[in-house]
Symmetry: C2
Subunit: 455 residues, 2 copies
């Protein structure tokens, strides 16, 4: 149902006339995602200032039978924050206050509209770090990263976004405003609503603030680029690094084709004279002793001869660049289909070897680029040379991942884009339980009704 | 409703005649907790073998309107696993199989009845460790520790039980059997049922198996005992250790009165010639370099002169003993009231100073013993010299903790013992949301109806 003029007036009474956006030019910034793949439309964007306003907006929309799409930085990749069916957009960006910063306990409270980058800077200012990092850090918001349970570059060491949540304030679809921002590291007093809301993609409630734990900053980081002759060898090495190195911060994986593309697109020289099949970027804390422990492991696995190790930030950044430049290098040859999957360790190498052939079997002109977070089993599959609306390659890749015991979404979520494949990962009993929870916490189906389960 | 003879016959048809226990002598082992504080009664203990049998038992009990109390190792401390109102006991101990052990990925699947100690040994056998450790390790089960979201000695480094769960198999109160044991470290495909079930104290579903992540074993552990002249000084040092030492495994706190009691009760000599107010036991991984980093921090804080540092396992165990012997030393002077609370860093020291006086103000003969997990803010308050059934001291301690922003349950849970105080930590909106979730997943209120919310 499209919002009526009368609804707009009601919303204006809640948030103020300047914060119900109906100007089509301004609205355009809220109706399409940043990649341009998902384009919707809406008659209004509502921009509340706090949880009380969110609750009032929700109450009005429930009464009028109008659906809401919560939106943060609009950096989602699965169409979960875009009004594809004319929903009212509930923009949380004005909830952008960081408060109750605790330098002894290492915690802070962030409004849903605070960017991940702002949390990181506030943490650094008091000698701590935020455990979540991702390339969209300066646009992605706390609320959006909670809704999608964002992963990123530090999951190996600090866990996903869910693991950072000491508490949330949220407006549920029932209209209840729940708040538990005391920041207790151990608190067994009932059901863990932060964990349930995290990853629920705005379908159960609107998170308006979160109490976030902070983590120790990396100490004297050591970075290594390790070249390996086989994919199974890389997977196995990632496993032993995880088991043997207590200060391990990240183990990232990429391959020969991707490295070639990065070198061509960015003009950097290849890291080694000879070409290798697989590469790991390894980062660990602990300076010289950590570097020695890493070198010992690499010697033992026969990989030391094809490794570069850096303790200095400048060469360390240069080694990271080979991995980080993948996204821009791939974008330079055309907008890719982006799939993020997780494989269990036992089938990760097999998946990597099989997926390019599976793609070209149905799209001979396509090219497949793989990179990811090796120690988590999380592989980003990018496919270029296929029309944006052609979902056949998505189907092939996701079906292959599921058939090998993997997840069709490691970190992006389901959104609207992957709903049709959710049954690949979830049994009817699980889907039925999800629907039960949805009905319980959003009985009028007003929050993101077309995301995750709806449609 | 007490089970009828006809119900017993139905249950026997599901689990076999030998596994519906009605012999009163055998039943006695299931109707009281191990401390003897909680004593119930039941006409039957059902011991299913797998999730299908659990589902069938649940179905029969729902149809007959008979409540179930799930039970693991019966080591709970809040009466959550004992049939206080004549419920049928659902013992999960026969689900004791460890399977799908993955030495590369560091994971295993454990049935609900596997003990924490057995998980630890299976992990050690393949070069990994289990992130949860607690003193009841050889009785407490995987299912029980998930139901209570058990904490213990390693939460600082590896998180609580919830953080170890890659997936669960569970029978919900709705009768749905959900299973997601693929062991993917990143998997954003819907609501996170493991996190919701973890800490729900058997009120939403019966966890029958779990896929557990394993963690790197401690490498070259360094243990230090640090004496401090003030409680605030100890809290502050715990905070800086957490921020500065990447390999930190544990920071445990105790005090002068407790140390005196430990030395008297166990016959060990005091660690230092002079008496100090507060003590920290610190453990970190990393051998000599880690010990040097720790020594640097202790020098900087002026605490090095009153510290003992051990890299060798034998003296390290002797230092740990001062902390670990608290429970037996306290038990030696009478059964204590045990309360486990968490305080925020800002009020932790104030709480420690205030609680003994608050207790003696209403029970002059009582003695208060405090120890805990300093870096988590988790303080175990033990009170001796008070009759077991006299809950006035419990009320004073829990009200004080809540008034200072703390949790009335850090890790034991609410059970039946703390229901009357749950409102101290949870708003009406939160309690109403818990009740909504309970009705959604256990619509006939058959699972632990007297625990957490019921009564």
């Amino acid at each position: 149902v499209a919002p009526t003029e009368a609804l707009v007036r009601q919303l204006e009474r809640i948030v103020g006339p300047g914060h119900v956006v109906t100007d089509l030019e301004v609205i355009a910034g809220y109706t399409a995602d940043f990649t341009g793949r998902f384009r919707g439309h809406t008659a209004a964007v509502v921009r509340p200032l706090d949880a009380a306003q969110v609750a009032a907006v929700l109450s009005v929309c429930r009464a009028e039978g109008v659906a809401l799409v919560p939106q943060g930085g609009n950096t989602g990749l699965v169409g979960g924050g875009v009004p594809l069916r004319g929903e009212v957009v509930l923009s949380l960006r004005r909830l952008d206050v960081i408060s109750d910063v605790d330098p002894v306990g290492g915690q802070l409270t962030a409004g849903a509209g605070v960017t991940v980058g702002a949390v990181q800077r506030a943490a650094t200012d008091i000698g701590w770090a935020y455990g979540v990092d991702l390339s969209s850090r300066d646009s992605a918001t706390v609320g959006g990263t909670i809704a999608t349970n964002a992963g990123g570059l530090r999951v190996l060491r600090h866990g996903d976004t869910r693991a950072q949540l000491l508490g949330v304030e949220a407006v549920l679809g029932t209209g209840e405003v729940v708040s538990h921002l005391g920041g207790l590291l151990k608190d067994n007093t009932g059901y863990h609503l932060p964990s349930l809301l995290c990853g629920s993609e705005g379908t159960l409630g609107v998170v308006t603030a979160a109490r976030l734990r902070l983590v120790p900053p990396p100490h004297e980081p050591v970075v290594a680029l390790v070249a390996l002759s086989s994919v199974p060898g890389a997977v196995e090495l990632a496993g032993s690094l995880r088991r043997e190195l207590p200060g391990l911060e990240a183990v990232e994986l990429f391959f020969d084709e991707g490295l070639d593309l990065v070198c061509t697109a960015t003009g950097v020289a290849p890291p080694f004279a000879r070409r290798h099949r697989a590469y790991l970027v390894v980062e660990l804390s602990g300076g010289e002793p950590a570097a020695a422990a890493l070198a010992g492991l690499l010697e033992g696995s026969g990989a030391m001869a094809n490794s570069a190790v850096a303790l200095d930030p400048v060469p360390a950044a240069a080694l990271w660049r080979y991995r980080e430049a993948h996204t821009e290098a791939i974008n330079s040859i055309g907008p890719p289909h982006k799939m993020d999957v997780t494989l269990p360790p036992a089938t990760l190498a097999e998946f990597v070897e099989a997926v390019p052939g599976a793609v070209t079997s149905i799209a001979p002109q396509a090219r497949t680029w793989l990179f990811g977070h090796a120690a988590d089993g999380n592989i980003h599959v990018n496919v270029t040379g296929v029309a944006p609306e052609d979902e056949a390659v998505d189907a092939v890749v996701l079906e292959l991942a599921a058939a090998m015991g993997g997840s069709i979404s490691a970190e992006h979520g389901i959104g609207t884009a992957k709903r049709r494949w959710l049954h690949l990962n979830r049994t009817p009993a699980e889907l039925s339980t999800f629907a039960t929870l949805k009905r319980a916490l959003d009985p009028d189906n007003v929050l993101n009704p077309n995301v995750l389960l709806g449609g």
